[in-house]
Amino acid sequence: MTKQQPFILFVEDDAQLRSIVTLNLRAAGYMVFEAGSFREAMDRMAIKPNLIVLDITLPDATGWDVANWLEQMTSPVPVIVTSGLPPDAKNMEHFRPKAYLAKPFAIDELLDLVQQYAPVA
């Protein structure tokens, strides 16, 4: 168990939602990096996160592209998928995210899931 704050990468294209969730995650004791696109997510992955919260609809790709890319990494990072629409069953089957959180979600629901897969020490 790490003594430092868990590091979470939050990939979401909507700036408003991103800032609200980030504020809440930070208040709950996480270190959060935000990404608004696939490209940004890749840039932010220089530091490997403990958990990724992933929106499926991104401006330059889908969350599945990010998941696909993450899959190629040596030690996979747990992923929580969020979406405003029911997720694609095939991709869910293939990538097996830790959890799927349907929008609109309450912040406690997200925090509970995050706490489960990246507990704050």
Partner: protein, 511 residues
């Protein structure tokens, strides 16, 4: 669709009524004249030459009028030759046996000639008629097959058939089966002359085994039936017409099915897009509200203010989406009418950019407005929507931190407003459909193929509003990076002006 039914007015037959009697008169006249001349020159003519002269008249009458007149000429010629030129003259008795033989030979020869000539005449007429029939049927089939459901096609074929058969009227009455399966018949009302005594011939039109309508032929007053050739022609024509109707019916049901399929696909796509677009701000609201409600965190006053502000903004955003949906319903109903008043475009730009400042937070915004732009007659709420949609698009389709620019300048009698971004630009294949309703630019994605974004309503609304203001819209890619969306608004609303075709700024190429 082909027109319901067609009726054409009366046209008289080609041959006048006096044609037949004139033949008999000519026969009698010709024989009388020939007899008088030959009798006057009695010393010069032999009995044999009188037979030849009469024979010539018989053939001439047969050629000119036909068998009946020919036979009449033969009999009269025989009697005249007997009475005037055979011994004893001026009696119908014949003295010499050779004269009897000559007279009987003449009568036989004359009768045979007139029959032969009449048959030739009839054959020539039949050949002409069948040639005409072929030509008519060819023209009819050309009309029926050449055009796909063109309005007026049925009028044309009815006119052709009526002209070909010299009919008083020709009607094609369609009784299309309704949804319940009951056929509703449409009664024809004849235009022009239509004596009730006219014979009417009706042929059912069968399409797909079912009675689809009626072909109704009104014969000219003198006629009681169609000739065999005409019947053949009508039968062939009916077959052609049935095939055309069948094809037309299949074609329209195919179109209907295709329209339904597309409408269903569009509705499904729109609903899922709207669901996604609504759920994002709803998530912001729910996250912010539940965050505020959380007992685990002590939010500072400014943080609380931030969440509450976010909630208000997101409610506005949802309201804009709902507004867009209502706009589309107005556009579909053709009721997108601007309530124009004089406004400065600068004020609209300021209002919109201030309202969108939270969304624009991650995009450096620059505004460039030409000095002293005149007030223009616009519906400020609608133009606000145009600008909001264009700016939201710029935010939605470009990566964080790329700048967005709003420009306004005068261009002749127009004011031109541009929203430029520095995102990935518009793939050229999308330009033609960019402003179409439900059309969404897709993003190339390695894992999931083409990913459409948004509802596909924003730019369609932009176009409808701008055009309702008498302006134009367009989009182009900048040479280095990003897309430019522009629209024009006339400075004077009374006059209609042609908008500039390409972007005003010379460094942006038009595509």
């Amino acid at each position: 669709m082909l027109n319901r039914f067609v009726t054409l007015p009366f046209r008289p037959a080609k041959r006048p009524v006096w044609y037949g009697p004139a033949g008999y008169l000519a026969t009698i006249g010709g024989l009388t004249l020939a007899t008088a001349v030959m009798h006057a020159l009695l010393s010069l003519v032999t009995i044999a030459s009188t037979y030849l002269v009469y024979l010539v008249i018989v053939v001439a009458v047969s050629v000119g009028w036909g068998l009946k007149q020919g036979i009449l000429a033969s009999v009269l010629g025989f009697l005249a030759a007997n009475f005037f030129f055979t011994q004893p003259v001026f009696t119908f008795t014949v003295a010499a046996i050779q004269d009897v033989i000559a007279l009987i030979t003449f009568l036989s020869l004359a009768t045979l000639s007139s029959q032969l000539v009449a048959r030739l005449r009839r054959e020539a007429r039949d050949a002409r008629q069948s040639e005409q029939t072929t030509a008519t049927l060819y023209a009819l089939s050309q009309t029926l097959t050449g055009q796909q459901s063109r309005p007026g096609t049925l009028e044309e074929v009815a006119a052709q058939l009526r002209a070909a058969l010299n009919l008083t009227a020709c009607s094609i009455i369609l009784t299309e089966p309704g949804d319940t399966g009951t056929a509703s018949a449409v009664a024809p009302t004849l235009v022009g002359e239509h004596p009730e005594s006219n014979t009417v011939v009706r042929m059912p039109l069968l399409v797909g085994g079912k009675r689809y309508g009626l072909l109704q032929l009104t014969l000219p007053p003198a006629r009681r039936s169609l000739t065999r050739g005409e019947q053949r022609m009508v039968a062939a024509f009916t077959t052609q017409l049935q095939m055309a109707l069948e094809r037309d019916r299949l074609h329209s049901s195919e179109i209907e099915a295709e329209v339904l399929r597309r409408t269903d696909a569009l509705r499904a796509a729109l609903l899922s897009a709207v669901a996604h677009d609504l759920r994002t701000p709803l998530t912001s609201i729910k996250s912010a509200a539940t965050g505020l409600l959380s007992t685990h965190v002590e939010w500072s006053k400014s943080e609380q203010q931030g969440f509450l502000k976010a909630i208000v903004q997101e409610v506005d955003r949802i309201n804009r989406i709902v507004g867009n949906l209502l706009d589309i319903s107005l556009i579909e109903a053709g009721r997108m009418q601007p309530h124009k008043e004089l406004h400065h475009i600068e004020d609209v730009i300021t209002t919109v950019t201030e309202r969108l400042s939270p969304e624009l937070h991650n995009h450096p915004l620059s505004i460039e407005i030409e000095a002293n732009l005149p007030a223009i007659p616009i519906d400020d709420i609608q133009i606000d929507e145009v600008l909001t949609n264009l700016l939201e698009n710029a935010i939605k389709y470009t990566p964080t931190a790329t700048p967005v620019e709003v420009r306004a300048c005068r261009h002749g009698d127009l004011i031109r407003i541009e929203v430029a971004d520095q995102g990935p630009g518009i793939p050229p294949e999308h330009f033609s459909q960019l402003f179409n309703r439900f059309y969404r630019v897709t993003v190339d994605s390695a894992g999931a193929g083409q990913v459409p974004r948004g509802t596909g309503l924003g730019l369609a609304i932009v176009k409808a509003i701008v055009e309702a203001h008498g302006g134009q819209v367009g989009a182009a890619n900048a040479p280095e990076e990003g897309a430019v969306f522009w629209f024009t608004l006339p400075i004077c609303s009374v006059e209609r002006h042609e908008a500039a075709d390409g972007p005003l700024l010379s460094h942006i190429p038009t595509r």
